[in-house]
Every structure is written in structure tokens, then in C-alpha cells.
């Protein structure tokens, strides 16, 4: 496997030889590997928890061209793990902050900032000029989009993903092994698995997983070592355990199989919605201000806080009855179907599962979801309550 054609290699300067001497001293990398790194073009999708160590280590390693894609702005709550950004970068575009930091670390790197959301319309155009893509995104739509675009373009997708204390890493390269869809043919219905914003994440976890991704990128470029193609690495930071699972190439894979049904990029927003049962009634919502009015009017309501005790302790919701999400179905008898029930969590995502769980066990009363959760209550009704 040779990702970087020999025609793209050029001699290193004496300054570069000094800078990268610890690579050059490794026979596995050496002058040839360092030239390949300098010639390489790597795209990092997302400059968040995974993108931060990816960008820093790949810049330090002397990857010649680093593209970074993000549409987001730096927020205070990012800084617990997104170490490429600093306090002074709050409210700046993440790509601008990342570009400045990479240039400060290694001015020899050509940084290309794609300050946009990766979509089915722009993905092939952005990705086609790169040799390797490293996926550090935070949502299923973009993960499937990155996977599909990499398969269609024939480039490797260095994958990492995190949740709370657990991480996954692999290399999806359809030319040589399985792709992401061989492992997970389609994504969960929206919201079935909580996002990082809802679930929390220990800050060093993306540092470890993103650094593993950076290592895989470097090995792909220099063309050595045993890569993660066909292997899924699982990491549990709390138990400090690594495990390795085999991933087989699926001959029936919808995009890299023998008879693919996906031959171009699809509508990923739509595609993630397809898995929803078509007969499902829409979830009724109530805004924080509407809820406040109903409470003030003395309406009888069952307000249910589905958060666990440690999370309720961050921002207590007055007068709510706590029933953790995982106990809804078995505690259905505690509800009165004659009285409207309002469900709340941090941002109004997990509370939707609670409503679904009660519907699934045949509960007939009215179920309302507090839109944008306790954070909306803190923003719009009670400014003494913290947003988290």
C-alpha cells in the first residue's frame, strides 16, 4: 500500500532534518517516511475533542497539508477536552482557532480551513484532494457521509468515536477491508443513543482516541506497521482496558459490497429519519415559558425529571418528580393518564426516549416534552439556574 506517489516526494531541508530527527532515527519512518508525511494531505473532519489531538500531533509530525472542517464556534464548555482551543478563542470560529494554533506549532504546515458544515453537496469536492480523512465528528449523519464519500473516492477513513469513558477506533478503507457500513449498515433512529452533550465525556478520552487516530494516519502515510484495518479497537478509560474485535468486510454492504445500492451521496438528514417508525405520532413539545405560565396558572401537571441524581444536582428543577430514564416502562403505574405529563432533561433529547418508552407500554395520557430541556428553563425563565 502506497498512499503517496513517489513523484510527490522532495528532499528535506537541513532545518527539516533537525526538526524531525526523532522520526528520521526510526528505520520504520526515516527520510523516506518523513518525505511522505510532508507530501501528504490529510483532512480532519471536526476540530473538537478528537480533532484537537489529531491536528496537533499531525502538525507536529510534519504532515505537509492539513485541512480542517468545522462550522462551529469555540464555547467555554469545549475547553475541558478540545485542547487546540484556548480561553481567548471563545466565540471564535473553531477553524480559525485551530489554524492559528497549528501555525504556531509548525509553520511548515499548510493549513486549509474549511469553515463550513460538511454536507452531501460539498463533501466530495472538499475531500477529493486529500490522501487520508480522519473522522472526528459528533453525529451519525456526518459519520455516514464521511464513510460514504471515502468509499466513493477510494481513500481511507481513520475513525474514532467516544462516549463518556469509552472509545472506538478503526481504519475503514474499502479497498483493503471493511467500511463503517460493514460494521453498522445504518444509523440509530434520531436520539436513540444520547449525544456527548447529553451524556458527558471525560476530557482525556478524546485525547487518547484522537491520538490513536493520529498514529494510524501516520502509519498509513509512511506505509508501515499493523494498521487497524479490519479491527475495531475498544477503549474503556475508567477500567483502563483495551479490547480488539474483528470486523469482516460485508459482501452485502450497501456501499462497498459486490452489488452496492448506494452509488452516490444521499440525503443524510432524511436517511437518518427513515429509521423512525412511519406510524409514530409526533412528540408534543412545550416551551419553558409556556410551562411557566401553566405552573403559574395553577394547572395540575405531572412534571417528570428523567435525569439521574448526579445530574439533577447540577441544576435542580423545582417541583419535578425524579424518574430516571431507564425506569420509565416499569414505573408506568405511577402516572395518572388524566393529567398532562411534562418530561425534562438537559436539552430535551433524552426526555423524548422517556415519552417513547411510555407510549411503547401503552400509556394513554398526554405526554409533553420540555423543549430544549432544563437549559431552556435556565435561559428563559429562571436565570439563577445554571446552564450546563
Amino acid at each position: 500500500m502506497n498512499l503517496i506517489d513517489d513523484s510527490r516526494l522532495a528532499d528535506l531541508s537541513n532545518d527539516e532534518i533537525s526538526r524531525y530527527s526523532r522520526h528520521l532515527l526510526l528505520p520504520e519512518i526515516g527520510i523516506d517516511g518523513q518525505k511522505r508525511l510532508r507530501a501528504a494531505r490529510v483532512l480532519i473532519v471536526g476540530t473538537g475533542g478528537l480533532g484537537a489531538p489529531l491536528a496537533l500531533y499531525l502538525a507536529a509530525a510534519g504532515v505537509g497539508t492539513l485541512g480542517v472542517v468545522d462550522f462551529d464556534f469555540v464555547e467555554a464548555s469545549n475547553l475541558q477536552r478540545q485542547i487546540i482551543h484556548g480561553t481567548k478563542d471563545i466565540d471564535r470560529p473553531k477553524t480559525a482557532s485551530a489554524r492559528d494554533r497549528i501555525r504556531g506549532l509548525n509553520p511548515g504546515v499548510n493549513v486549509i480551513a474549511h469553515n463550513t458544515r460538511l454536507t452531501a453537496e460539498n463533501a466530495l469536492d472538499i475531500m477529493k484532494d486529500y490522501d487520508v480523512v480522519a473522522d472526528g465528528t459528533d453525529n451519525y449523519q456526518t459519520r455516514y457521509l464521511v464513510n460514504d464519500a471515502c468509499v466513493l473516492l477510494g481513500i481511507p477513513n481513520v475513525y474514532g468515536s467516544i462516549y463518556q469513558f469509552e472509545g472506538q477506533a478503526s481504519v475503514f478503507y474499502a479497498k483493503e477491508g471493511p467500511c463503517y457500513r460493514c460494521l453498522y449498515p445504518s444509523p440509530p433512529p434520531p436520539g436513540l443513543v444520547p449525544s456527548c452533550a447529553e451524556g458527558g465525556v471525560v476530557g482525556v478520552l478524546p485525547g487518547i482516541v484522537g491520538t490513536i487516530q493520529a498514529c494510524e494516519v501516520i502509519k498509513l502515510i509512511v506505509g508501515g506497521g499493523d494498521g487497524l484495518i479490519g479491527r475495531l479497537l475498544l477503549f474503556d478509560a475508567w477500567r483502563m482496558k483495551f479490547r480488539e474485535l474483528r470486523i469482516e468486510k460485508d459482501p452485502l454492504c450497501p456501499i462497498c459490497g459486490a452489488e452496492p445500492s448506494i452509488r452516490e451521496l444521499i440525503d443524510y438528514e432524511q436517511f437518518c429519519g427513515i429509521s423512525l417508525p412511519s406510524d409514530e405520532a409526533p412528540i408534543e413539545t412545550i416551551t419553558a415559558t409556556e410551562l411557566k405560565k401553566r405552573i403559574d396558572c395553577g394547572d395540575e401537571l405531572q412534571i417528570i425529571d428523567i435525569r439521574e441524581p448526579h445530574e439533577r444536582a447540577i441544576a435542580k428543577f423545582p417541583g419535578a418528580k425524579p424518574i430516571p430514564l431507564g425506569q420509565m416502562a416499569r414505573r408506568v403505574d405511577e402516572f395518572d393518564p388524566e393529567i398532562d405529563a411534562v418530561f425534562l432533561c438537559k436539552i430535551g433529547q433524552r426526555s423524548i426516549f422517556a415519552i417513547r418508552a411510555l407510549r411503547d407500554v401503552g400509556y394513554k395520557g398526554r405526554l409533553l416534552n420540555l423543549k430544549d430541556g432544563v437549559n431552556a428553563w435556565a435561559r428563559d425563565v429562571d436565570s439563577d439556574l445554571p446552564q450546563y
Partner: protein, 96 residues
């Protein structure tokens, strides 16, 4: 026979935070079904309406995906461990 189901963090909200649960079953299908009986709130996360396992959850016996063995009919031995491996998407932070 007794087998252990290993539950990843993303699904522990449905298992009273337990990471391992002991169930009875002679096949992967029986063991997972027994597990879903213990924690009914997890059922909708594991199964499609058709009764098939959801495509974003893989079940591993050792280092092999049961999809590449005999699927839900995969035979189990006493003391085997089945690991649930769901897709996780985190990595950056979106401003949801």
C-alpha cells in the same frame, strides 16, 4: 447455561448502571432475549419491530461478530460472554 452480557456505558442507563448481567440461554438469541426480559426498557433499543436486532448494535462473542457466526442462532457454552457494541458518534460537540 449461564452466560454474561456485557453492557456498554451508552446502554447502562437501562440496566441500573450494571456493566455485566448474568442470564440463561443456549443461543445468542435466547441470551439477549432473556436480558431484555430483565430490563424491559432496553427492548426497543435492541430490537426492530420485526424482532431483528437493530443494525446499530453488534453482538460479539469473543472477538467475532455473531453476524459472522450463526447470528442469533450462534450456540453458546456455559460461561461465555456476549458483548453489546453499539455505534457511538461522539467526538466533537455540536451546539444542539
Amino acid at each position: 447455561m449461564s452466560v454474561t452480557i456485557q453492557i456498554p456505558t451508552a446502554l447502562r442507563v437501562f440496566t441500573d448502571r450494571r456493566a455485566d448481567v448474568l442470564v440463561e440461554g443456549t443461543t445468542a438469541g435466547e441470551a439477549i432475549s432473556a436480558f431484555a426480559d430483565l430490563y424491559p426498557d432496553i427492548r426497543t433499543h435492541l430490537y426492530e419491530d420485526s424482532g431483528a436486532l437493530r443494525s446499530f448494535i453488534n453482538v460479539y462473542l469473543g472477538d467475532a461478530n455473531i453476524k459472522n457466526l450463526s447470528g442469533l442462532d450462534t450456540k453458546l457454552k456455559d460461561g461465555d460472554t456476549l458483548m453489546l457494541v453499539p455505534a457511538i458518534a461522539g467526538g466533537a460537540e455540536s451546539s444542539e
